[in-house]
Symmetry: C2
Subunit: 469 residues, 2 copies
């Protein structure tokens, strides 16, 4: 790769994910001008071969591409438009008063004409939707805008193997595709139909699963510890079962380490922000999200307990305040009892994951998200679970078939009655142990509501009918 | 009242409520033989004029009536039947081996023939249902059994003005009525149709409201404090509004005092027990209880935080860990802003109370509870609220009218759309403040589910339709 041929990229937001993304672009031969509110982050980026921008507007200087990876919509708005020294505005007020054009090479102070702006921060789709009117309102219709939230870990950001959900006009997508391809895994660059806003919506419905399943992992491991099960054995049992999820496998590992404040891969505040976007947008869309709502309140309680800067796997302490290791009941080695207890933990995750799949798919469908693409994306990303892979496919086929007016028999799964019965036994045992089960309780109520609607004998996937008319 | 004419009453469970009830019977001229596992409680009862029984069976000696007021079904079962020295069994093993009859005046060691046993503990109806088979199985078909849980405060127990919900055979009710009348307010003795079990079910559906509204009071006062509102002003505003409830008025007062560990009128563990009965029975009945389920998890979290022995009003600390007094924003005296904030708090309670009324009435209806009696009882008891009085009546009329196949217009109330809209604004503001709103969030989802079912333009009372087929 000849460095000289690569265009210059501006970058704001050099946090855990942003740093990895920006450093990867440097590695791939791009000239990257990086900025962050924390000088230390800029310094680190400079050490990784980046150019330290002196200011927001300076980071945009001469850039064909600009990537915004700050934490929130509020920060994005300030950095891109509302700061005195903002990234996008074409004219620096002082320079303008001197009659100097913003394109004057001596004053490279804002995003050049015809640049492509990629908003990779996770934001409400309503914010992404504001760009097609905000840009013209400041005379910058020349900018190509791509709504392109990303998913996955800091490690994959640094490797250029992110999942990216990009929504934009065809022209903007054509412009942005090159750089999106560099940042993402070949198979994980999703060009989302529906244009601006649908990228953010796609990310959001993915985060419905992530937000529920991060807490579900804590709920399961905490419940297991309260049952007296060994955490490592629980982890192994779940991971090799169909109760597994990407989040359980990932977060469960860190629960075994129990270094929530020193080994922070993803802070509680991050998932809390994403979950907050979901419930805020669900209020705008008047869409009920019982599981995400329940999860959000527990995350807020965790925040109030001081867990905000900790790894989100530390939420297990909301269920089992004592260390997991050492909580297991070494006196009882009755393997039959242990097996029965483990079955409860597996049931909990299984049914929470089915209910989560229903909540996410029902929401995605109501937002006119391409469900086939959503399915493919989730299965390859952090929102995936064995239950989503199986039940999610059935739910989506059900929606498609219902739209087409056909009803095709599927291989058998358990019924709503069985789900309600098994989950009841789990919740009862947790009650006996005085262990809260926020998600287990909320999921059980969804299966019971489905039962009230006459779906008792139907497949457990019909729990999605709770969201129906 | 001539003391000599009054029959002897046995009593087990001399806790806060039980002591008041037993002492009141003494005051009314009954000879009362009291027992408790705590010797200090027996001593105190003796000082109040009661007879200190030496054992469980001794407390039953020569008693025409026996009242069981222990804390749980487990305790009741042990005291009444399963202890070596149990209250009910007709034959003391040792005495029997000597050929001595249990009616021998020298060995007055168990409940006499034809006695009336009143189970006043709050127990699952399934436990009350066990008596008609348990009693014959030990040869005690002679006992008249009344399932008679009570409600209200220790003060009213001591005054003989409790609410009592009594279910039994006609014969047992005829026997028990005298003593039930002494313990209860004239207007608050409810002879519940449907026999044994329905007394406990009636109590249970009343506790659906109590369990939700105790936490709702904390949620509202905590949210108000996080908004910067003055707690005393909040209390006054709620109490004089239609967002008021018996629980808010009662618990809110103690939140102003903030002496949760020293001024304990009703411990968290008590409501947690009642709520546990509700969710356990709701699993047996396959009835969804989203609000009580949410409340239970928060109570369990409170237990885990060490609040168990504290007054349940101390649950406000789950929402606002800092003292309420002093948390108010004295710097902002913009009365318009304060009024807008107060409106959010009032909305929160209003809609949680409407949703709670729906959950309780739907559950009562599914249990074939007499809804008119339930309504009357709630309005006069600790589960009452202004919203229950108004919306509850409308919901019950709706159920009755629907059963009769008629549809009569009612005076107007807000719509589901309005409820969802106003409650969304509340939940959004709480999210901005990072304040959990477990009940507000769960109630909002119920209104949104109703909207999904096409009830958007219908009265807010139609939220009960979420539990429909």
């Amino acid at each position: 790769m000849a460095t000289s041929q690569r265009p210059t990229v501006g970058f704001v937001g050099l946090g855990a994910m942003g740093f990895g993304m920006a450093a990867n672009l440097v590695k791939e031969g791009y000239t990257v001008r990086g900025y962050d509110v924390f000088p230390k982050s800029i310094e680190r980026f400079q050490q990784a071969g980046g150019i330290a921008a002196a200011s927001l507007s300076n980071s945009a200087s001469g850039c064909e591409y600009y990537i915004c990876m700050v934490a929130t919509a509020l920060q994005a708005q300030a950095a891109l438009f509302d700061s005195e020294d903002a990234i996008v505005p074409g004219k620096h007020p002082v320079c303008h008063s001197k009659g100097i054009q913003f394109t004057d090479p001596n004053y490279p102070i804002a995003l050049p004409q015809g640049a492509t702006l990629l908003l990779c921060s996770t934001v409400p789709s309503s914010y992404a939707h504001s760009f097609p009117s905000q840009l013209p309102s400041i005379g910058r219709s020349d900018i190509f805008f791509v709504d392109a939230p990303v998913s996955c870990s800091a490690r994959r950001a640094a490797n250029g193997t992110l999942s990216i959900m990009a929504g934009a006009s065809d022209a903007a997508l054509a412009k942005g595709k090159e750089i999106l391809a560099v940042m993402s895994d070949t198979n994980k660059l999703y060009l989302v139909p529906g244009g601006i806003g649908q990228g953010s919506n796609m990310k959001m419905v993915h985060q419905v699963l992530a937000g529920i399943q991060i807490l579900a992992a804590s709920e399961a491991m905490g419940f297991a510890a309260r049952l007296g099960l060994d955490p490592a054995q629980t982890y192994d049992a779940v991971v090799k079962s169909e109760s597994n999820s990407w989040m359980f496998e990932n977060r469960g590992q860190r629960m075994l380490e129990e270094k929530y404040s020193t080994h922070v891969e993803s802070a509680l505040t991050i998932i809390l922000k994403d979950v907050g976007i979901i419930t805020a947008m669900s209020r705008v869309h008047a869409f009920p999200t019982p599981l995400v709502t329940a999860a959000e309140q527990v995350y807020l309680q965790g925040l109030s307990a001081g867990f905000g800067p900790n790894d989100d796997s530390g939420m297990v302490r909301m269920y089992c305040p004592d260390p997991l290791n050492g909580a297991s009941d070494k006196t009882s080695d009755d393997s039959q009892t242990a097996a029965a207890k483990m079955a409860l933990v597996l049931s909990l995750l299984r049914y929470v994951h089915i209910a989560a799949a229903a909540e996410a798919i029902a929401y995605a469908n109501s937002l006119n998200i391409d469900l086939a693409q959503f399915y493919e994306l989730v299965c390859a990303a952090a929102g995936g679970s064995a239950m989503f892979s199986d039940r999610g496919a059935r739910m989506i086929r059900g929606i498609v078939q219902s739209a087409l007016g056909i009803k095709e028999a599927e291989g058998e799964v358990g019924t709503i009655d069985e789900a309600a019965g098994e989950l009841s036994a789990v919740v009862q045992e947790a009650q006996n142990l005085k262990c809260p089960l926020y998600l287990g309780g909320a999921a059980l109520n969804l299966f019971l509501l489905a039962k009230r609607r006459g779906l008792g004998g139907e497949p457990d996937t019909t729990v999605i009918g709770v969201w129906g008319p």
